[in-house]
Every structure is written in structure tokens, then in C-alpha cells.
């Protein structure tokens, strides 16, 4: 199976204090990866490189799909920041932004937005003002805004940092189910038990160096069954 994203000989130097160096990193489709490591280890920088928001001084980032232009490549991957920015307007306006860029009709937009908000536990939030949401709701809307685009790769920087303990379990269940939608998930976390809870492969990073190499084989996943399920129920919504 071809990796969805490959990073080769990446080198990023930010001032005299920080260097990120990744020799080779290949991430497989429909997998969930957890980037762990101490503050300043390079987790966010690595996510930003994969999101094509930070450009390394050296090395290459390539995708299995997508065109040759930067905009086409960026449409394969969506990055949700630790403290996400929501556009001024309604929740629906935020989710519609990327869909409009992809030429999705208004009717389809409405349908996808309602489905995705239900998925993140915010059903009926369409008309809510984005500036009047709680921290946890902002994080969920930002996740929904990324999910509605059905990206090949979804990058999440500490996605549960603003989620309260009560909602954490359902949020983690949602994250763990995302590979079923066809996306590869990479999330950064400080919580060392979270990768295990989410069934994620751990990628430890320290002082700008990756300590683990991701496994290439697909363990315990019946690919044909998975594909059939995805075709029938792309967002893994209940009732399909």
C-alpha cells in the first residue's frame, strides 16, 4: 500500500536553538498516529510541515494524491491548531468556507454541514455565532470544519486540550473512528495514555528528532470490509 504522505530528509532550522530533522517518514492510509514528546520537541512544527504551512529549508513532502500546485496539494491535508481560529460569522459560515472553495453546491453544503455537526456532537449549531462559543465548542467546530472537507490527512494539534473531562471520552471515540471515514489522522498530544486509548501508533519526537518509525503493515484491519463500510457510510454516521 502506498503511503498517503512521505517526508524525506526534512531539515528546519528556527534560530540557533531549534532544529527539526526528519530523515524519512511515511504515513499509511486510514491510520491514526500520535505525535508525542515534551514541549518544544517539534510536534507542531512537524504538523505544520505536513500541512504545507511551514516550508523546510531542505527535504521534500509528497502526497499520494493531488495535483502539482501548492493549493491542490494543500487540499489533501487539513490542519486544526491547538487554539483554532474561527471566522467571524456563524458556525455554518465556518464549515461552508472550504466547501465553497471546492465548488460544492449550496444544497450539498447544507447537508454536509448538518451531518458533520451531528458527528462532532453539535447538532443544531449551524446559526450560532462563532464568537460566542466555549473553548470546547470552538475546538469541535474547528474539527467539524476540517472533517466536512473529508481530507485525506487530518492533522490535529492537541485536539483535546480544551475539551472537558465529561466530553473527553466521546471526543476520543470520535477521533478513533475517523480513520473509518477514509482519513489518516495525525495528532499531537502530551497525554501519554491517549495514543493507546485511541489505538494510535506512537511517533515520539524529542529535540527535533523522531525516535520511532511508523509500522508499514496494516494490523488487524480487514481492508475489503473497511472499504465496503466506507462506501456505504462515508462519515460513519449512525443510522446508515
Amino acid at each position: 500500500m502506498e503511503p498517503v504522505i512521505s517526508l524525506k530528509d526534512i531539515l528546519v532550522e528556527q534560530g540557533a536553538d531549534f532544529t527539526l530533522s526528519v530523515e524519512n517518514l511515511e504515513l499509511m492510509p486510514r491510520r491514526i498516529y500520535a505525535l508525542t514528546g515534551p514541549n518544544g520537541a517539534g510536534k507542531t512544527t512537524l504538523l505544520r510541515i505536513m500541512a504545507l504551512l511551514t516550508f523546510p529549508q531542505q527535504g521534500s513532502v509528497s502526497f499520494a494524491a493531488g495535483g502539482s500546485g501548492l493549493v491542490d496539494k494543500r487540499q489533501n491535508v487539513t490542519f486544526v491548531e491547538q487554539s483554532p481560529y474561527l471566522f467571524d460569522g456563524s458556525v455554518s459560515d465556518n464549515l461552508a468556507f472550504g466547501l465553497k472553495l471546492r465548488g460544492v453546491s449550496r444544497k450539498e453544503q447544507k447537508k454536509h454541514i448538518a451531518e458533520t455537526l451531528t458527528l462532532v456532537g453539535l447538532a443544531g449549531f449551524e446559526l450560532r455565532n462563532s464568537r460566542k462559543l466555549s473553548g470546547g465548542e470552538v475546538q469541535r467546530v474547528a474539527l467539524a470544519r476540517a472533517l466536512v472537507l473529508k481530507p485525506q490527512i487530518l492533522l490535529l494539534d492537541e485536539p483535546t486540550s480544551n475539551i472537558d473531562k465529561k466530553s473527553l471520552s466521546s471526543f476520543e471515540t470520535l477521533l478513533a473512528s475517523l480513520p473509518n471515514t477514509g482519513s489518516t489522522i495525525v495528532f499531537a498530544t502530551h497525554d501519554m495514555s491517549q495514543p493507546e486509548r485511541l489505538g494510535a501508533q506512537m511517533l515520539r519526537i524529542e529535540n527535533g528528532r523522531l525516535l520511532d518509525r511508523p509500522r508499514q503493515s496494516i494490523d488487524s484491519v480487514d481492508t475489503k470490509q473497511q472499504e465496503k463500510r466506507l462506501w456505504l457510510n462515508p462519515l460513519n454516521l449512525p443510522g446508515h
Binding site: L53, R74, S83, A146
Partner: protein, 228 residues
Amino acid sequence: MGYLIDSFVAAIGLIFTFDREVQFAVWTSLYTSSCSIAFAALIGIPSGLMLGTNRFRGRRLIITLLNTLMALPTVVVGLVLFGLFSRQGPLGSLGLLFTPWAMIAGQTVLAAPIVANYVLAAVSGSDPRIMDTVYTLGASNVQAAVQLMKEIRFGVMAAVIAGFGRVIAEVGVAMMLGGNIRGTTRTMTTAIALETSKGEFAFGLSLGIVLLCVALLVNLFLNLLQQR
């Protein structure tokens, strides 16, 4: 004191009797200022966005130049454009000198750096996550700039209003490039200068009151935007 009060009463009379001369000067001022601010916005907004969102060699120099242009004396702009538009000048064949279009060109030169600088300040003060967010959702550079402009729309509006305030109150460009021709290029400011020098103080005062009201409205609107 009586002279001032009498003039003030006469000025109010001229405004409320819709004196044709007053009306024409007000119309010319509003027309030329509106056109010039539209052109200045077309130049200044993209320039400000471009300077604010990109880092390139020579950027600091351009910003310094823009700051200098903001304080450009209106008569200097008038002088340079007069040279360009005069019969012997390189653009003399266009026959623009002493027409409203020459005034609009001059006022555009005055307002564009103001609009660009205000937009640049708005971009610099905006949330740095905006551009990352629009790019990661798949926007091109132009789509990203449009979304950024929506997010900082109050700053952009403030830029346009500040530019409008500058051009509607200026006299140098209007005088030098418009020529203060009655019925064609006479604006509020040039009419005030001329009529007062002729001893028509009440007429000048009436236009001064209208100009002050326009400036007041512009500033009230600007304050309203800044409070949001």
C-alpha cells in the same frame, strides 16, 4: 462680533435656500472625492494586503516610502501632476488639466498611500492564525486575501474613510489641477479660498459649515467602526 453673527446667519440662509453656487461646490467636492477614494481603494487595499501578508526584500523600504507619501504636501502632488498634464507635459495630449479628472488623479495619489498604510496596519494587527486557517482549508492566495479582508473589514473601512477625509479637505490639488473654474472644477475648499479673498465671507462660511459637517460625519462613522 456683529459681523461674524451676521455672516453666520447669512451662511445658514445660503445653505437652507439651496444656493446654486453652494450646491455645485458641494456636489463637485463629493463627486471628485468619491471617485478618487474609489480609485485609491482599488490601489491601496491590495497594496496594503500584499505588504502585510508577504515578506520580501525591499518591503521595509516600500513601507518607509508609503509613510513618507502619507505626509506629502498637496501642492507638491499638484505641481508634479501639473507638469505631467500641462500642454508641454508627457500626458498633455489627453487634455485633462483643469478638468475634474485631473483633480481625481491628484486626489487618488494623495489618498492611495493613506489607504495602503491603514490596511497594512490592520493586517499587521490581525490574528496571525487567519492566514494559516484559510490556507489549510484549501484557499489560493487571492481567496486567502479576500477572506482576510472580510476578517479585518472594519480596519479596511477605516482606511477608506481616512483617505476620504484627506481628499475632501484638501485644497492644493484641487486648486492647481482643477483651476477653480466656476461650474466645472470649483470645490468647497477652493470656493472658500476664492470667495473669502473676494470679501464674500458669508459664502465661504456657508461652505465651511457644510465641509465641517461632512468631516464630522466621517469622523463619527470612523469612531463607530473603531468601537466595534
